[in-house]
């Protein structure tokens, strides 16, 4: 009985999880292309001191959850060590999504670029439905200063 539940959860995690990931990546790529006209840099130099220049802080965040397949796969992987691709894509999606949300806000305000980008990743722990396994979800916050020049 338990093995059946396990297999159902595993295949649910695999098929639904993969399709969510795929459509999310598609969505990210489209939106990244739309916001390509706003360059984002990490520099923090004080070079925007011309009269009339405006700057404002923009913050974007997202919490993305892993799925059951990723959880099982990564716990197997941690037995032998090495690269966990399941979580690499998870962190990558979260980071790109957070940056996009920040850029979208800056775009609405009329920014022509965003400088001083900072990214922060933290893990939001949770428990499974039966309370035993620790499931992984990751929060990424991206923030930067939008610059508008006259």
């Amino acid at each position: 009985m338990e093995i059946i539940v396990f297999l159902i959860l595993l295949s649910l995690g695999y098929f639904v999880g993969q399709s969510i990931e795929k459509s999310h990546y598609k969505n990210i790529i489209v939106r990244e292309a739309e916001l390509l006209h706003i360059p984002v840099t990490t520099d923090k130099k004080t070079q925007f001191d011309g009269a009339g220049t405006q700057g404002r802080l923009f913050v974007g965040n997202v919490v993305i959850s892993g799925d059951y397949f990723k959880l099982v796969g990564s716990s197997l992987r941690s037995l032998v060590g090495g690269q966990i691709t399941f979580y690499e894509t998870l962190a990558d999606r979260a980071r790109r999504e957070a940056i996009l949300r920040m850029k979208a806000q800056a775009n609405n305000w009329g920014a022509e670029k965003v400088v001083g980008l900072r990214l922060e990743t933290s893990s939001v722990g949770g428990k499974g439905p039966s309370g035993e396994s620790k499931l992984v979800s990751v929060e990424v916050v991206a923030y930067g200063t939008g610059i508008k020049q006259p």
Partner: protein, 109 residues
């Protein structure tokens, strides 16, 4: 109040410096949302309720920082940084800090 996370305020000159200001908040997750999230955890995807919760909490931390800056007489906070730490299972501290300054507009030549 102008907020930036770079070392200056674009188009402005820093004329006075009031030192570090900070704001923080500790938030716990809603139990109902937590249960929902644990089901979402099986299939993956965005946990919109958590995104919203953390976003709101961060805004509260930012607001507290701004209030502190206003009390010193500053009109801008520069070099803002955010930090998140998990205090316990189900609670997170969100922290915002920056430097309170007084700025003035650079005049047109």
């Amino acid at each position: 109040m102008i907020l930036t996370n770079i070392e200056s305020v674009p188009g402005h000159r820093v004329v006075e410096h009031y030192g570090l200001v900070q704001g923080s908040t500790v938030r716990a997750k809603h139990v109902g949302k937590d249960i929902l999230a644990s089901f979402k955890n099986l299939v993956g995807g965005e946990l919109a309720s958590y995104t919203e919760l953390l976003n709101e909490s961060r805004a509260v931390a930012e607001k507290r920082m701004v209030e502190q800056a206003q009390a010193t007489g500053a009109n801008a906070v520069i070099n803002i940084r955010f930090s998140t730490s998990s205090i316990s299972q189900g609670a997170a501290e969100l922290f915002a800090y920056g430097t309170a300054v007084k700025v003035e507009k650079i005049p047109w030549k």
